[in-house]
Assembly symmetry: C2
Homo-oligomer: 346 residues x 2
Amino acid sequence: MSLQRIAEQAGVSPSTVSRVVNNKHAGKVSEATRRRILDLARDMHYLPNSQAVALATGRPPNTLGLVIPYYSHTFRSFYFSEVSSGVLDTARRRQMDVNLLVHHDDTASGYRRLLAGNRVAGVVLFGDQTNACAISICREAGMPFVVVNPDAASAEVPSVGSDNEGGAYDATRRLIQLGHTQIAFITGPEGRPDAESRYAGYRKALQEAGIALLPALVARGDFSEKGGREAMRRLLAGEPRPTAVFAANDQSAIAAMSVAKRAGLRVPQDIAMIGFDDIPLAQHVQPALTTIHQPIYRMGQCAAEILMARIGSMGNSNRDADVQILRTRLVVRESCGAKRAPQLDA
Amino acid sequence: MSLQRIAEQAGVSPSTVSRVVNNKHAGKVSEATRRRILDLARDMHYLPNSQAVALATGRPPNTLGLVIPYYSHTFRSFYFSEVSSGVLDTARRRQMDVNLLVHHDDTASGYRRLLAGNRVAGVVLFGDQTNACAISICREAGMPFVVVNPDAASAEVPSVGSDNEGGAYDATRRLIQLGHTQIAFITGPEGRPDAESRYAGYRKALQEAGIALLPALVARGDFSEKGGREAMRRLLAGEPRPTAVFAANDQSAIAAMSVAKRAGLRVPQDIAMIGFDDIPLAQHVQPALTTIHQPIYRMGQCAAEILMARIGSMGNSNRDADVQILRTRLVVRESCGAKRAPQLDA
DNA sequence: ATCCTTTAGTCAAGCGCTTGTCCTGGCTGG
DNA sequence: CCAGCCAGGACAAGCGCTTGACTAAAGGAT
């Protein structure tokens, strides 16, 4: 039902109808006409055509886009749901809507279509799952954006990440303080920046403590359970035997822990374990996994805030400060051998 | 960057540019001009304005909308993720995009804004979490839609649900076949159609077997763990003591089971338990929960298919057949006392 | 050379809405 | 009694793009 149809019915011009339904220049329309138009609009189920409005006003929509690279388990992923929840809750507080733009076409033209085809004021991108070219497309298109978990290559973009290196450092440090010196590390997938940073944190802590980095104590994993299991088997078969294992993520850690237990080792008495991420499962395994908590929900919140700020200031200040690295937090549970939860000095 | 700007630069009319970029009436444009325009478009980062295109063509977008009533745990819900995955996978197979329209404003005008403000060819609605008025708004607006898990009130709409009554019947029947006669039922929230249907299935099976329905064996729950726990306590305190409990959903069943165990009862020897839904947790509890599997993912698939069919036929045939009730399936695990998984004679 | 057909475009209307400007009739005050 | 002023509303341009209709020039057939 179009505005002009209403206008005809009401016997007035389209402009008048527009003013009434948008409640603009309200004084310019008599109460009688106003009522008549409003009643008519209701009865005729008038719905403004958003394309036309957008075209005519040129004003940006009140909607944020969350670009979702879809693979079949996306919606089951803890990471995804936490980030999304953070973005949604924050956007909502500022009365903004959010559309989740699911896309499969991970190419430049795919992103172009996505951005051109959807009316959003800005987008949040998953840095670890979204093709890097998405960033340059946003730039070209003048579309405000923010990247969650940017990879290293996209350092100079508005983004929010967490302090992977610092977290890994804390984890390793913890094990050192508990007296361990044979500390193994199960890595993440090669080349992934977050995985690399965690490795770096591990090395840094060892070095600082004067402990040599033994290649035999570093086993490649890939963030998956399978990878964790296999890495742990190699570790247990090698020399020297680790007395503690720090895995680059919880899934690997949990898998590694089950391998250790099956090998007859007691956790934490015979071997201490520590993970990274603090996924929900971490507190349910036996023994409960000590890990580095990543504030994923807050990353979503932060991303939404940065994005909204940038939309607000549309290219004014360059706001290069829009890079946030969120602190991680050591969560002490049972798997690394502390009964109490002493604060890490530092 | 607008099409006319390209036209000026190229020294041709906007129509020519339009024809080139849309690859229409291609023969009408010389190869030289074509190349020139294409190059210019690339260099100037031309992106068509989707509003304008939509306005001019009037053709429906190639996108489905999934209306998400957002509450803070939406994205952690198994139900949500399964339905969404089903919709997404199916839409993708037909090259359609999906936008998840998150909304908080559960009112008529909220839905109006949502539908008017987003360019989608049709929407899937969550019947059990979406205000019923959404349906009439869709009707008014001429927006194709399909409802997942419709409530009884919306019987005559395109929808996909599962056979709650049949599933509950199967579950109860199972317990009867195992020799139970004191079969308790933990209900869902009052008034919810799916909960009511499950109750009906329970009653039907009892009646058919000539077992009286004892009010003392029916305890009100609300699909939550808390509700399940309390219901179970009442059941155990009452007379007669049930030898089997069928809970209207898995969460209640799992909670009830833990109450039973804490009361010193062995499951299934002292008391048999059966749930409904087949949530992932069901197979991980001890003992693993026998339950009625609901094909939630398939409901999503079905919904997408019905919706796409309706979009395709835009109001042609009324297609009143677009109501699908998916069959449930008994999944025999350990909690109701069968070692093997014998087929239920249908 | 003439007329017709292609070829390679241009023109302009129109999609539904917004908005600054302009118009009109009725009322006011002097 | 008339200029002036408002309230109340109409007009028209324009947002960026599409598309059927039209046209100018070039080539072909006769």
